[in-house]
């Protein structure tokens, strides 16, 4: 393991990207930060800029309007970074498949600009905070 990977896994700072979610996944992500789960005790911190982030938490189908923004956010995140795809919509567009505004799913969009991207999936509608934490732990432990 090179030192970059070691640093990435040590204390992953995450940036939250909503690309057209119904806000339910976002609520569950924020829930992870509340006192009951309190992921900050594990060094996972929500930051306000993708340039400070080690990981992106992406929720929602990628809408036409959000597509260039998601690309830009991914390009501005320092590499290596992990993309966590949170929720059924982000993982595979879910019930919005073939919708007129849908350009997703997220992994397709990310792989278009970076085929080597590290992508982890947390399905669920919405995934429970336990599932999100479990997904993050499992993804980081196999890196």
């Amino acid at each position: 393991m090179n030192w970059k990977m070691w640093a990435l896994k040590k204390s992953p700072w995450v940036f939250h990207v909503n690309t057209g979610a119904c806000n339910n996944c976002d609520i569950e992500i924020v829930n992870c930060l509340t006192p009951k789960f309190d992921v900050e005790r594990l060094g996972i911190k929500l930051v306000g800029s993708p340039r400070h982030a080690d990981a992106l938490l992406v929720t929602g189908v990628v809408t036409r309007q959000a597509l260039p923004r998601l690309r830009e956010v991914y390009l501005q995140t320092p590499k290596p970074c992990v993309v966590f795809v949170i929720g059924a919509c982000a993982c595979g567009t879910g019930i919005f498949r073939n919708g007129y505004h849908v350009e997703g799913p997220v992994d397709k969009v990310i792989k278009e600009i970076d085929p080597q991207a590290i992508i982890a999936y947390v399905p669920g509608c919405p995934p429970k905070p336990e599932a999100i934490i479990s997904g993050v732990v499992q993804a980081l432990s196999i890196l």
């Binding site: 970059k4 809408t63 036409r64 309007q65 597509l67 260039p68 690309r71 390009l75 590499k79 290596p80 073939n98 007129y100 505004h101 350009e103 278009e112 600009i113 970076d114 080597q116 991207a117």
Partner: protein, 162 residues
């Protein structure tokens, strides 16, 4: 005003309506043509003082429908004005936003998605479609096919580097 009085009151606009349908006890439909919809809305809002809830657009293949839903909270009755727009080429219906500002955004949304024009609307800008969405393509019309995906070539000078 109880149920009976409400029903009596609604008969005042009967000449502007095609029909009054009452499917269940607390659900009344007022069917009218598009050109009478403004007057019926104004009557329901100002004379009956029903509360405007939302409007709906429907593509019925041979015509467009705009449904204005009102709630008459004293009896819990929901009154829906069903306005038929027969002209599919240039669908338009008088805006109710001048006397009912709460209808502004939903009329903009219906305009975005169905291309129904609302003359008299104070601010008919695009509301919910993407900024690069082509003009004149109305996604919820039955005869609209999906427009081409966004054409954008990722900038090769900005390759992802570790």
């Amino acid at each position: 005003m109880n149920k009976q009085e409400l029903n009596n009151k609604l008969t005042q606009v009967k000449d502007k309506l095609i029909a009054i349908e009452q499917k269940v006890d607390n659900r009344i439909y007022l069917l009218c043509e598009a050109q009478n919809a403004y007057d019926v809305n104004k009557f329901l809002f100002e004379d009956v003082s029903a509360r405007f809830v939302i409007a709906t657009g429907i593509d019925d293949e041979d015509c467009f429908e705009v449904l204005y839903h009102y709630s008459y909270d004293r009896t819990g009755c929901v009154i829906t004005i069903k306005a038929f727009i027969r002209d599919r080429q240039q669908p338009k219906i008088q805006s109710i936003a001048p006397f009912l500002p709460g209808a502004e955004w939903i009329e903009r949304e219906i305009h975005d998605l169905f291309g129904i024009d609302f003359p008299g609307h104070p601010d008919m800008r695009r509301l919910i479609l993407a900024d690069d969405w082509p003009d004149g393509v109305y996604p919820l019309r039955k005869d609209t096919s999906r427009p081409k995906p966004v054409v954008s070539v990722p900038d090769s000078s900005r390759e992802v580097k570790e």
